[in-house]
Symmetry: C2
Subunit: 106 residues, 2 copies
């Protein structure tokens, strides 16, 4: 059952996706209550696409699905952490395994 | 030097903080360009507090500073990942080491 979470004024909550196998942070995307419930019910990550304004099952077309292993939320109840087994080639549409592949140097 | 990042309509960008030693996601908070620059310049995490509407050096009063080891951004340039050495007792004001200490069960 979903806990009472703090969604923003658009009804969204940021969801950090972490690879449960190696700890890499793979991506961050947004969920609303419906996509969070779908994530919990199906065992695969579902998001709300802010750019396309539609539900989005991660990997539905690419095959790069994310099997949900653990779901956590933070002390403020305004961020979700999803620990997944990443299937396919990775989380990023660029072909990288993680979306965080660019370093900021001083 | 800071890359061109996509700040939201309030000038903020979400920053995921990860423990570089064990890979734990410790917290998520928001930065604006000034706090991101301060993070880069000083080597300690700085955020913008949305509730208090002020700059916030993490651990300035508690001593739970975060030494920045690596700074990354994602493929959309709208999220930052900060890998830190967490000092003191932890990242969470509740006394937990990570803010993500509550599990959602199906």
């Amino acid at each position: 059952m979903l806990p009472t979470l703090k969604y923003d004024e658009k009804g969204l909550i940021p969801a950090i996706v972490q690879d449960i196998e190696n700890g890499d942070v793979l991506m961050m995307a947004y969920m609303n209550e419906t996509s969070l419930q779908a994530t919990l019910d199906t065992g695969y990550t579902h998001f709300w696409s802010r750019s396309r304004q539609e539900y989005w099952k991660k990997g539905a077309t690419s095959g790069d699905l994310q099997e949900v292993k653990e779901l956590w939320y933070d002390c403020d109840a305004d961020t979700v952490l999803v620990k997944v087994k990443q299937l396919g080639k990775g989380a990023c549409h660029t072909g990288n395994r993680t979306c965080f592949f660019t370093k900021i140097e001083k």
